[in-house]
């Protein structure tokens, strides 16, 4: 369906909802980038994700909306906040300095290219395949029920295998959150560590903090990814409705 057709089909409340949700999304996204305090950035991210959830509801993708709220605005942002807290809120990063020379110019050019590509794709009629596996969107039954059937029939194995992914996430977090030399996850606050642990190089003072930070970083990112993988499995059927 081309863009004008979509607009014609939309009713007034729909259009208003869409506009509001879109504004929420964009304002939140700008907030993520522009806020000085990383905690505020994370909270702005909640706003964006919530706006996306509203958009999902508008598309009749109720399950994805639920995933968006429960997993992303719930768990993922909480993880972000944890990692920010683990690293220290008051750490200043010099974001405006170019790490690589000419980084910004390249980013601008590439961004424009992507934008042009999106416009181009929107104006092209691509051949797409047969009807989606999970059946048409406007068929009988709710979206969530269809998804449930998909998950427990066609995508049963991916669903069960997702549990292995969760186990990896747990084991990975435990391994990476482990204090060097102690063989156990660190229990002490950083200021108690100095002088208290005679083991291993880097187990005391600032070294330990750096290692902690790194571990938190890695663990945080790792979980986010495995969660995303789980989300992909959950959304496999949902993405089908188009």
């Amino acid at each position: 369906m081309s863009a004008p057709a979509v607009l014609a089909a939309a009713t007034i409340p729909d259009a208003v909802t869409f506009a509001l949700a879109a504004v929420i999304c964009v304002v939140g996204a700008l907030g993520v980038v522009l806020m000085r305090n990383p905690v505020h950035s994370a909270l702005a991210l909640v706003m964006t994700l919530f706006g996306v959830a509203v958009l999902f509801v508008e598309q009749d993708a109720q399950f994805l909306a639920a995933v968006q709220v429960i997993v992303y605005t719930g768990a993922i942002v909480v993880l972000f906040l944890f990692v920010i807290m683990l690293l220290g809120v008051d750490r200043r990063e010099r974001v405006l300095a170019d790490t690589f020379r000419g980084q910004r110019v390249v980013a601008l050019v590439l961004g424009l290219m992507v934008l042009a590509e999106v416009v181009l794709l929107a104006r092209t009629r691509w051949t797409t395949g047969a009807h989606s596996v999970a059946g048409p969107l406007d068929g009988p039954g709710s979206n969530v029920a269809k998804l449930g059937r998909s998950i427990f029939t066609t995508y049963l194995i991916p669903f069960e295998v997702t549990s292995a992914l969760l186990v990896v996430a747990v084991v990975g977090a435990v391994v990476l959150a482990r204090r060097p030399g102690l063989g156990e996850p660190s229990g002490e606050a950083p200021d108690e560590a100095d002088g208290a642990s005679p083991v291993g190089p880097g187990a005391s003072g600032p070294g330990a903090e750096a290692a902690d930070a790194e571990a938190a970083d890695a663990a945080g990112a790792g979980t986010a990814e495995s969660t995303a993988g789980a989300g992909a499995a959950a959304g496999a059927g949902a993405a089908v409705t188009r």
Partner: protein, 573 residues
Amino acid sequence: MIGSAHLAGVVGARLVAASGITIPHIDYTAILPELILLGGMLLLLAAAALSPRPLPTEAYATATVGLATASLVTSLVLWRDVTDRGPLTTVAHSIDVDGFALFFLVTISCILVVAPMLGAGYLRRERISGPEYYVLALISGSGAMFMASANDLVLVFLGLEILSIPLYVLAGLDHRREASGEAAMKYFVLGAFSSAIFVYGIALTYGATGSTNLAEIGAFLARNVVTSDGVLIGGLGLLLVGFAFKVAAVPFHMWTPDVYQGAPTPATGFMAAMAKAGGFAALLRVFVSTFPSLRSSWQPVVFVLAALTLLVGAVVAVVQSDVKRMLSYSSINHAGFVLLGLQAATARGVAGSLYYVFTYGLVVLGSFAVVSLVGGSGEDRHDLARFRGLGRRQPVIATAFAVLLLAQAGAPFTTGFFAKLYVVEAAAAAHSYLLAAIAMGSAAIAAFFYLRVVFLMFSDAGAAAPAGEGATARAVEAARPAGIEPAGAAGGSWVPEPSGAVATMVAPVTRSAAADARSVSSGVVALDVSGEPPVATSPWILAGLGICVAVTVVFGVWPQPLVEFAHQATLLF
């Protein structure tokens, strides 16, 4: 691919009945190898969690070897069933149990049998306790198995993640070395990025074909001619990028040297063997069996990938003085050889690739195990000088390493020879003469650096070695932090402290200096006895190495069964 149209019909009919649910039939025996690994992994976790005091690492190793052996036996039994009754799909056609999958199941099980044997001693030496190494290895193996037998792109993706995320963690298993953490971080960030690209590829492919099921995609493409195939080609390209990253093909290899060098050495070997097995399994199945109609589009791309991978891997490996880093570049070179079979896209080519992946897995595991032994406690040194004279100090280890290196170089009477022969032959048969020539050239370059290590191990320490000068400089650097000031450095005759650790530190310095000064060989031998770093072997690692070497030599002399196996695997696609 035979009968895929029929299969698609069945799937369609089942899904149309949307009101009621058709419960998918699950053939538990068909997925038993995966179930054994995952179930065993959970039991290991529970045992670790519930046991009142920490279990020794050997206990976990024994359990892992047992589980892997069970899965190996099951895979072989399934192989017999499949050759008798033909391939089967199960769980709503998302799992294919065919010859191709079973070949990889056997390969992965073999890797899992050997890996714990080679890792246990290292973990004890480096004081890394707990079940994590084994648990992560088992999960990773099951992920690779799912990739090999997946008949659905969603499952391929999940397999990819379950394969890779444990590998990221394994790279960072050693907290005492910063390089390990750096490797984990690097691998993770780039790996997550490539996974995202891969998912995007799946999305585009789904958009273009209307299904994530590989058989249905194949059937759709066989029935329809896609006229404006931009989305499909785009999706295919992104899938290829995702796979190329996992198997470390140039130009997506940037992470490989740093990650392989930083990771704990047994984990490096496991990573190299497992990521390549899983990655190539899915790569071959998706491209050769699902997208044969688009061959003209992807074959040239794979050609460039393979050529670059072969050349860069070999050329950069030559200039490495660190053996661990050299082996990681050589693993890139090997990926190029496997790509040769994909580029040919014939049954012969795929069979060659299968043979290559199987033999490479065991060879690389053994090679990195030797490096972990010689590298010494804390992985302090992996440079070439460390390997000089190993043949005299540790004849068994050195001989094993020599065999494995010769296999990597492609010497006759090892599996490496036939592996290289089959893929190059397949490339030539598919009229990719240029690529075959490039492969031969890169094999010749690669032979140089493998043989250099072999000669170094068995050469007399008095003989001048090419890396002698550099090694001396490095050894001096290594000695400095320990507070040893070289006395009378110009004369090349420093007096080492006689006591324990210091003597160990100084010994290589003295030896290299002596080599430079071309002192009489008797003096060198005397120093040699006084303080070479000890290479601590254990029955575990000897058994593991023994398996690697035995497979390499036995199937090198008598390759027929394995060749037959690989050939049948491609027939039963």
